[in-house]
C-alpha cells in the first residue's frame, strides 16, 4: 500500500485540495475589486452564468466542438492506422513526421493556423484562389460557421496522431491466424474489418474516445489562440468562456470557478451515460 503514497499524496495536494478551494470560490464574490470584502454569495455566480443569454450557445458550441473533433479524429486516425499497419519503406520516419503535431503546444498550433486561415494573408485562401475555387479570400473568422469549422479542423489535425498511435498499437496485437482463418472462410477485406478488426480494437477505441472527450472539453488553447471565442461567441466553448471571464471580467475567479464546476459536472454526467451505453469492462487500456 505504501506504493500508493507518492502518487496519491501528489494528487491530493495538487489536485483535490485546489479543486475544493476552487469549488468554494465559486460560491464567493472574488474579483479584483472585492478582495477586501470577500463573502459568500451562494449560487449567484451560477445564476449569472446560466442566465447570461449566451449559455445555450456556449453549450451548443461545446457540443459541436467535442462531437466533430473526436469523431473525425477517430475516423481519420483509424484510417491512418489501417494504412500504416503493414510495414513499408520509411515507415519509421513517416511515423515521426506524421505524429509530430502532437508534440506542438496547443497555443502555438492555434497561432500558426490562425495565420494560415487568415482572410487576406493566409495560405489556405491563397491556394484556393490560385486553384480557381474562389475569387476573393474567405473570411473564415468573420463568419460564425466557418470559424467553428476552422477551429475544428485544426483540432482534428492535432488529435489524429493520438488516435492513430493507440489504434495502431491495438491493431498490431491482433494475431494473424484470426485473419487467415477468416480469409479461408471466404471473407473479403470489408467483412474482415468489421467482423475481425473492429471487435479486437473496440476496448481501446471506447476508452480512447472517452479520454479524448474529456481532454477536448478542457482544451481551450487552440480556440483561444485562434478566435478568443469569437466572432460574437460563435466559437466560445465552456473552457474558453472560463478564460475569458478571468481576462475580461475583472479577474472574476469566482465566476470562472463556477464555470469550471459546471464543466466537471457535465463530464461526470457524460461519463456515466457513456459507460452505461458502451457496457464494457471499465478502464481497460
Amino acid at each position: 500500500m505504501a506504493l500508493f503514497i507518492p502518487t496519491f499524496s501528489v494528487i491530493g495536494f495538487l489536485t483535490i485540495y485546489p479543486t475544493v478551494r476552487g469549488f468554494i470560490l465559486s460560491f464567493q464574490n472574488y474579483t479584483v475589486f472585492n478582495i477586501r470584502r470577500i463573502r459568500f454569495i451562494g449560487l449567484q455566480n451560477y445564476e449569472k452564468v446560466i442566465n447570461s443569454g449566451d449559455f445555450g450557445l456556449i453549450l451548443w458550441n461545446t457540443f459541436l466542438w467535442i462531437f466533430f473533433s473526436v469523431l473525425f479524429q477517430m475516423l481519420l486516425g483509424l484510417g491512418l492506422a489501417l494504412l500504416m499497419r503493414k510495414p513499408f519503406k520509411g515507415r519509421g520516419i513517416y511515423t515521426g513526421f506524421v505524429f509530430y503535431p502532437w508534440a506542438l503546444s496547443g497555443f502555438a498550433i492555434g497561432l500558426i493556423w490562425r495565420w494560415l486561415f487568415d482572410g487576406s494573408f493566409g495560405i489556405i485562401n491563397d491556394i484556393l484562389i490560385r486553384l480557381g475555387f474562389i475569387e476573393t479570400g474567405i473570411g473564415f473568422f468573420s463568419d460564425p460557421t466557418l470559424a467553428m469549422l476552422a477551429v475544428i479542423i485544426v483540432n482534428i489535425w492535432y488529435g489524429i496522431p493520438f488516435f492513430a498511435i493507440m489504434i495502431l498499437a491495438a491493431l498490431q496485437g491482433i494475431p494473424k491466424d484470426v485473419y487467415e482463418s477468416a480469409w479461408m472462410d471466404g471473407a473479403n477485406p470489408i467483412n474482415s474489418f468489421f467482423k475481425v478488426t473492429l471487435p479486437y480494437i473496440r476496448p481501446v477505441l471506447v476508452n480512447t474516445i472517452l479520454l479524448r472527450v474529456i481532454w477536448v472539453m478542457n482544451f481551450p488553447d487552440i480556440i483561444y489562440a485562434m478566435t478568443r471565442g469569437g466572432p460574437a461567441k460563435a466559437t466560445e466553448i465552456l473552457s474558453v468562456y472560463m478564460i475569458n471571464i478571468v481576462f475580461y471580467e475583472n479577474n472574476n475567479f469566482s465566476k470562472a470557478s463556477a464555470v469550471g464546476v459546471i464543466i466537471i459536472s457535465l463530464l461526470m454526467v457524460f461519463t456515466t451515460f457513456y459507460y452505461l451505453i458502451s457496457n464494457t469492462k471499465k478502464m481497460e487500456m
Binding site: G139, F141, A232, F247
Partner: protein, 417 residues
C-alpha cells in the same frame, strides 16, 4: 592577542554588512516585449551604477497574461516594489488596497513642475489621489501611406472623417486594395473615437458624457457616428478585419492593403523596424462633422505596492526613470509619448516628421480635445468586452445600431456615471 584579532574580524564583518547592505528591488512591467525589456534594463544598469548596493530585478511576463499576473501576485502579496500600472489596471489595484499613496512623493517632486497637462490629473484618476507616477502617455493619431495613396492621385492625409471615408471608398476595390484598417478585437477607443467625432460638446473629463451631463449614446449624433463607423468596415475594410487585433492591423498597414490606420504611438517603434524611413507618415486625427475630434488619453505609470519594504528606494528609481534623458530614451525606443514637457522641446525626434500628427494635435487643443475615459468606474473592465461583443454582432448584422446604442446607454446608466 587572539581576543583582539577576533574582535577586529567581527567588527569588520559588522561594518561590511552595514556598508555593503544590499537592497533588491523587484519590478514588474506589463507591456513586455524583448526590445522593451532591453530598454528598461539599460536604464536599470545606469541606476545600479549610480546606486551601488542596489539591484533591480525586472520581471517581464508575457503581455497577454501580464495584467492577470499582476493582479494575482499583488492579491497574494508576492514581494514586489515597483509595479507598472496601465490606466485600465489602476482602479482595480487601488480597490485591492495594493497601491501606495504617492501624494507625498509627487508633491515634493521637482519633476512635477514640468509635466504635460493632464498628467497629474491622470495620476489622480482614482479617488483624486495619486497612486501612480505616469511614465508615458498614449494618444492615438492617424498613420498613412503616402506611397500607396499617390497611386490613386491622392496627396496628403484626410483632414476630416468625411474625407477619410471618401478616400477609403475610392481606393477600395474589394480584391487587393482596401482603405481603412479596421479593429475587430477589443475595439474600445477605436469605435469611440469615430463615434465621438460626430459631437462637439463632449465632457473633457468623461468621453461618454456631453458637457451637459447626458450620456452620449442617447444622442442622435451617436447613431450617425455609429453608422458611419460600421460603414467604414463594410465599405472600406476587408471582411476578415472583424477579427483583427493590433498585429493584423500593423501587418495590413505595412503590406499596403490598408493605407489608413489609427493607432497608438508605440506603433511607431514597430513601423520604424518594418518600413523604411518616410514610407509612412502621421497626421492629426480627422475631425468629425462637428469640427472636432476627441483623441483618447491613455497612460501608464509606476506604482509602489502598499506592502513593499523598500518604498523610498523604489521612488528613487521611479524618479530616476523619469529623468529627461532616461525618459526620452525610453519613449523614443519604445514609441510612447513622454510626460515631461521639457523633452518635447529638447529632443529633435519630437519635432521630426514621424511625430507630425501629434505635434499638430497638441498645438490645437480646441480642435483636438484630449479626453479621459471613466476608468475609475468599477465596470470599466467589463465594458470593453461588452462593447467588443456588441460590435461583432453589429458587424454581422445581428443587431441594429439603434439597439446597440440602447445597450450602451443602459450599461452606463447602470454603472452610474
Amino acid at each position: 592577542m587572539k581576543k583582539i584579532l577576533f574582535t577586529t574580524v567581527l567588527l569588520c564583518i559588522l561594518l561590511s554588512s552595514v556598508l555593503f547592505s544590499s537592497t533588491t528591488l523587484r519590478m514588474i512591467q506589463v507591456f513586455s516585449s524583448p526590445e522593451r525589456t532591453k530598454i528598461i534594463e539599460n536604464i536599470i544598469d545606469k541606476f545600479e551604477a549610480a546606486n551601488p548596493g542596489v539591484t533591480v530585478e525586472l520581471i517581464s511576463p508575457p503581455y497577454e497574461t501580464a495584467v492577470s499576473k499582476v493582479n494575482i501576485m499583488m492579491s497574494n502579496e508576492e514581494p514586489l516594489d515597483i509595479v507598472e500600472v496601465s490606466d485600465w489596471l489602476l482602479s482595480g489595484l487601488v480597490s485591492m488596497g495594493s497601491l501606495e499613496n504617492m501624494e507625498r512623493y509627487i508633491t515634493h517632486s521637482e519633476q512635477a513642475k514640468y509635466w504635460v497637462d493632464g498628467v497629474v490629473e491622470a495620476a489622480r484618476t482614482v479617488d483624486d489621489t495619486a497612486y501612480i507616477m505616469p511614465n508615458a502617455i498614449y494618444v492615438k493619431t492617424l498613420f498613412y501611406r503616402p506611397d500607396i495613396l499617390e497611386k490613386y492621385n491622392i496627396v496628403g492625409a484626410p483632414r476630416s472623417m468625411g474625407e477619410m471615408m471618401a478616400i477609403c471608398q475610392y481606393i477600395t476595390n474589394g480584391k487587393d486594395q482596401y482603405g481603412f484598417t479596421y479593429r475587430g478585437i477589443d475595439p474600445v477607443n477605436f469605435m469611440d473615437l469615430v463615434l465621438c467625432s460626430f459631437f462637439d460638446d463632449i465632457d473633457p473629463a468623461c468621453m461618454y458624457k456631453t458637457a451637459s451631463g447626458k450620456i452620449i449614446f442617447e444622442d442622435s449624433r451617436a447613431l450617425e457616428g455609429l453608422k458611419f463607423y460600421l460603414d467604414l468596415y463594410h465599405k472600406t475594410s476587408p471582411k476578415d478585419s472583424i477579427s483583427w487585433g493590433f498585429d493584423e492591423q500593423v501587418n495590413s498597414f505595412v503590406s499596403g492593403l490598408t493605407p489608413i490606420l489609427i493607432q497608438d504611438p508605440d506603433t511607431t517603434a514597430l513601423l520604424n523596424y518594418l518600413l523604411t524611413n518616410g514610407v509612412y507618415k502621421t497626421a492629426p486625427l480627422p475631425v468629425g462633422p462637428g469640427g472636432k475630434v476627441y483623441p483618447t488619453f491613455g497612460f501608464g505609470g509606476w506604482g509602489i505596492p502598499s506592502y513593499s519594504k523598500n518604498k523610498d528606494m523604489a521612488w528613487k528609481f521611479i524618479e530616476f526613470f523619469n529623468l529627461p534623458e532616461n525618459a526620452a530614451y525610453f519613449c523614443k525606443q519604445y514609441g510612447a509619448l513622454p510626460v515631461d514637457s521639457r523633452i518635447y522641446d529638447q529632443d529633435p525626434y519630437f519635432s521630426s516628421e514621424v511625430f507630425a500628427g501629434w505635434a499638430e494635435m497638441f498645438a490645437d487643443p480646441e480642435t483636438y480635445q484630449i479626453t479621459a475615459y471613466p476608468i475609475d468606474n468599477e465596470v470599466w473592465g467589463e465594458w470593453f468586452r461588452f462593447q467588443g461583443d456588441i460590435q461583432e454582432r453589429l458587424l454581422m448584422n445581428r443587431m441594429t445600431p439603434e439597439k446597440a446604442l440602447q445597450e450602451f446607454t443602459q450599461f452606463w446608466k447602470d454603472a452610474g456615471i
